[in-house]
């Protein structure tokens, strides 16, 4: 198997583990996500545990990656280097957070949720992809 095919297999495998983790964690349930954001109501702390587990396991990977010259199947690590907290970052994150609260879906759980064949999930995903394309091609002027 070529290195390129191994990379594709690694991408699929990582996606599957991510999706299984989302399914186990409760993140795919908009009612639970909105319950987590509802600090003035019946607050649901479940997602604190999801975050704690996810950040800890990712921290182990990040620490290990710093000791490696390059990834196992690639030539270099593609990680963001900017340290500037600018208006785009804050305004974009605020817009994202508002949408997240409105429906209780963020991109990962929404995409994974397509598996269940529910129409509302498909409607959300279609709108989300449209929002991404509008940003990338129209607003940011990045032609694909």
């Amino acid at each position: 198997m070529t290195l390129r095919n191994l990379r594709l297999l690694a991408a699929f495998g990582s996606g599957a583990v991510f999706g299984l983790g989302l399914a186990m964690s409760g993140m795919m349930d908009p009612a639970r996500v909105q319950g987590f954001l509802d600090i003035l109501g019946a607050w649901d702390p479940t997602l604190v545990f999801v975050m704690a587990g996810a950040v800890s396991a990712a921290f182990a990977g990040v620490t290990l990656s710093k000791r490696m010259a390059r990834p196992v199947l690639g030539t270099r690590f593609s990680v963001p280097t900017s340290r500037v907290i600018d208006r785009r970052l804050i305004v974009g994150s605020a817009i994202f957070g508002a949408g997240w609260g409105l429906a209780g879906f963020c991109p990962g759980p929404a995409l994974a949720g397509l598996s269940l064949g529910l129409v509302p999930v498909a409607i959300f995903v279609a709108a989300m992809l449209a929002g991404m394309i509008v940003h990338d091609r129209v607003v940011a002027g990045r032609a694909a």
Binding site: A11, F18, G53, A58, C106, A130, M132
Partner: protein, 139 residues
């Protein structure tokens, strides 16, 4: 398994997946970036992103095979709200260069100042939105 342990274990799997993608392919598992780059002109990278997303869809099927039931998905939002929310999530995550995964998990694990700022911002915006919906009587 208690609900909190299951949530913790699910979180660990998410973090392991992010670690695997970083250590093997050198890529950040930011779902909004991966989803948007499915449509990028760069074919090899686009294919890798499509495969990650297909894997993401396979995850709940593995859960179904292992437990005998789909994960719970309770949606309160109406169709117009879903459309507005989807547009905001898609547009905002691209403008802010990340979402709950890229900033909230990997960015925090990388101790990125930008990701701490982004995570605090989208959490606050989500909390305010849900509070407004609660007081508006729509939640």
């Amino acid at each position: 398994m208690s609900w909190y342990l299951q949530a913790l274990a699910g979180g660990v799997l998410i973090g392991l997946s992010a670690s695997t993608l970083l250590l093997l392919n050198g890529r950040i598992a930011g779902i909004s970036g991966i989803a948007a780059q499915m449509f990028s002109g760069d074919a090899p990278s686009a294919l890798s992103n499509v495969l990650f997303v297909l894997g993401l869809l396979a995850g709940p099927m593995i859960y179904l095979a292992a437990t005998g039931s789909w994960p719970e998905v309770r949606i309160a939002a109406s169709v117009p709200v879903l459309i507005i929310a989807g547009l905001l999530v898609g547009f905002g995550s691209r403008m802010g260069s990340g979402c709950t995964s890229g900033h909230g998990v990997i960015g925090i694990a990388r101790l990125s100042r930008r990701s701490f700022a982004a995570t605090a911002t989208f959490m606050a915006a989500g909390i305010v939105t849900v509070a407004l919906m609660r007081f508006g009587g729509v939640l």
